[in-house]
Symmetry: C2
Amino acid sequence: MTAIKESSTIQENKQYALEKCPVTFVMEKIGGYWKPIILYHLSTGDKRYSELKRAIPAVTEKMLIQHLKQLEADGLVIREAKPVVPPFVTYKLSNAGTGLLPVIDAMAAWAFKVKDGVYTI
Amino acid sequence: MTAIKESSTIQENKQYALEKCPVTFVMEKIGGYWKPIILYHLSTGDKRYSELKRAIPAVTEKMLIQHLKQLEADGLVIREAKPVVPPFVTYKLSNAGTGLLPVIDAMAAWAFKVKDGVYTI
DNA sequence: ACAAGTACTTACCCTAAAGTATGTATTATG
DNA sequence: CATAATACATACTTTAGGGTAAGTACTTGT
């Protein structure tokens, strides 16, 4: 979980943007290539780690858990581990995570409008 | 506008995500620290370049035009330049850009819910 | 005995995004 | 004659994010 230099303009600006801009706040949570995709896959119900891995073949294991851990730390997903062997771990959306689905939907709606040429870009 | 290496895994994955995931498509357009903030400032009406600069003091000029140019290239904002001197350039939201406002609003709504403790994260 | 499956972890590298600093053209104004 | 104001541009450096590759622990199946 890559160390961050505690004093860099980029971090200060992130701080500024986080406080000033709710959108940036959301971006912090669901930004990155994989988080939205993970969220999407969890929106249809809980999934095991290995299920997610198979569902998103292009993601590396490092990226997958790294983002799962971040999503968990941000309270968007809930991890449940059964103390068995081989391990049995499932991930599911929390209330906050579920609350993000309308945002995801609004984004998807806009994306499809653009692709359907509704907006003559 | 930083040149991109045409063959790197990161670019291939971005491609994958762009095709598979409408959310990533939106992220491409409004991701980055400054784009949402710029969009937000333009949501209340057109602004001159210098007005934006003053309205967002933490952004550097390089970042500001770089993002404005990208937003323009993506058809989200429209640039209008009057051929006078000193230059007089205004930026405003296009239809597509305006179409994004509901997304921004949904994000803001979620962010405020989180901050108000609606979701016991 | 050894591979396979599970859910990770860790060390190292590479690249794209962000930041710093300075320069450009044009005209008005003191 | 020099400075200010406008809207940029550009060379160079830094940093955070993403990728590669390999290893860990524990058990079941062959």
